[in-house]
């Protein structure tokens, strides 16, 4: 007979952790995507040579493990006396981490829009920003969508590392419950299930958008 000491309040505690995971992920993905779009466009406009310093900076964010970035970021903000809450630090670091990946996705997607199509747009009298807005953005968005969904799902799970800054997100909440109840397998299964429930709609959103756009291709 299956027996567990897990109570509703434990589940609520884990749900609150999931809420934190969602909040941090939501902020990081939103801010990181906006910054990534700006930096991606800048990279394309500047060309590989002039954007080399930016590329190098972004490479650092993509190469150093997120855990190290979080710990170092937290230490630096303390040294610089920013006085940030761990929540703020977590959001800032995760946003930069997301932006570093998103910049590459955006750059690749813009480059994948055929130059001849853009030339045709410009030949009709559209200026640069109209070309970007009406031609490049919709076409690049389709190209970028699968990678961006992958990035978002990755950030959702990587956000568990903010527990090292003392944040109680889903994984940390689950650990606390495990420590108290000593039912690791069962609780980790629930934790995994919650991650799945958070991720699944995002993955489906990607599938939905691809399907919606595909009849036109």
């Amino acid at each position: 007979m299956f027996d567990t000491a897990l109570t509703t309040s434990d589940l609520l505690f884990m749900a609150k952790g999931a809420g934190m995971t969602l909040a941090v992920t939501g902020i990081a993905v939103a801010a990181g995507t906006l910054l990534g779009i700006v930096l991606g466009v800048v990279r394309v406009q500047l060309g590989p040579v002039w954007s080399a310093p930016l590329t190098f900076l972004l490479d650092i964010f993509r190469s150093v493990p997120l855990l190290i970035q979080l710990v170092l970021g937290n230490a630096f903000q303390a040294i610089a006396q920013f006085g940030w809450e761990p929540f703020t630090t977590s959001c800032v670091i995760l946003s930069l981490y997301t932006a570093a990946y998103c910049t590459e996705i955006v750059r690749g997607a813009i480059d994948a829009v055929p130059a001849t199509t853009r030339r045709a747009a410009r030949s009709l009298g559209l200026n640069w920003s109209q070309d970007m807005g009406y031609i490049v953005a919709p076409l690049a968005a389709r190209i970028a969508m699968p990678s961006w969904i992958g990035l978002t799902l990755g950030v959702l799970k990587d956000s568990s590392l903010i527990l090292w800054l003392g944040m109680i997100e889903l994984l940390r909440a689950s650990q606390i419950v495990i420590t108290r109840l000593q039912e690791p397998l069962f609780i980790l299964m629930i934790c995994g299930l919650i991650y799945f429930l958070l991720s699944f709609p995002i993955a489906r959103l990607g599938g939905y958008l691809e399907k919606r756009w595909s009849p036109n291709d």
Binding site: T116, A120, R122, S123, L124, G125, L126, N127, Y134, D217
Partner: protein, 240 residues
């Protein structure tokens, strides 16, 4: 009037236009023929400012195309260009492809732009296809859509850059018919083409380009029947 004065243009070490002088009057149909790499397509992209030039100047109705002070986007409304690749905007329906520039560049209302677009689509025989996406069109239909898209800006000049080269042979006719219709309507056109018999039918003048130089220009009868230049003769005997 399009005035081209001693235009030179290089891509790296390769000089593709070696001092071109040419004037195209209002209502004239000029066909440019020549081998690949002769600079004829480059000339078209220079005329509407898509390519910068190294020296010389190009004037369209007296406006210096490559001057910094020129509002190139405004000037491009006057000069339609259609390319070898159809360059449809794949995320927009046929109607949206055609209305985009009138709405965004000329700031027309949607209704106004659609009225013009539908007229142009009917003109090129695509009235029925207005709500489909370009991927559902054949190559010939896509190219006719590209022509309607350029015409919707009510240009004074139309440039056609080998518009039939990427088409299956059986689709070439429908596009040429559209061009013929435009020529009959009195549109000022510069056509770069490999369709020699078509060039002969519609052109007021034919220019032969060879290695970045305009080797010969004259009425189609002269160019095709009695070419003066040795290179023209060689080229025509090869394509016939």
């Amino acid at each position: 009037m399009i005035e081209i004065e001693n235009v030179r243009k290089s891509f790296g070490p390769l000089e593709v236009l070696k001092g071109i002088d040419l004037t195209v009057k209002k209502g004239e149909v000029l066909t440019v023929i020549g081998g690949s790499g002769s600079g004829k397509s480059t000339l078209l992209t220079c005329i509407n400012g898509l390519e910068p030039i190294d020296s010389g100047r190009i004037l369209v109705d007296g406006t210096h195309v490559h001057a910094k002070s020129t509002d190139i986007n405004k000037l491009r409304c006057k000069i339609g260009i259609v390319f070898q690749q159809f360059n449809a905007f794949p995320h927009l329906t046929v109607l949206e492809n055609v209305t985009l520039a009138p709405r965004k560049v000329k700031k027309m209302s949607r209704a106004e732009a659609e009225e013009i677009a539908i007229k142009q689509l009917n003109h090129v025989g695509l009235g029925e296809k207005r709500d489909v996406y370009p991927s559902r069109l054949s190559g010939g239909q896509q190219q006719r859509m590209a022509i309607a898209r350029a015409l919707a800006m009510s240009p004074d000049y139309m440039l056609f850059d080998e518009v039939t080269s990427a088409l299956d042979p059986q689709l070439v006719g429908e596009v040429l018919d559209t061009l013929k219709m435009l020529a009959d309507d009195g549109m000022t056109m510069i056509l770069v083409t490999h369709e020699m018999s078509f060039a002969r039918d519609v052109s007021d003048r034919v220019a032969f380009f060879h290695q970045g130089v305009m080797a010969e220009i004259g009425p189609p009868k002269q160019i095709f029947e009695d070419p003066q230049n040795e290179e023209t003769r060689k080229f025509l005997s090869n394509v016939r």
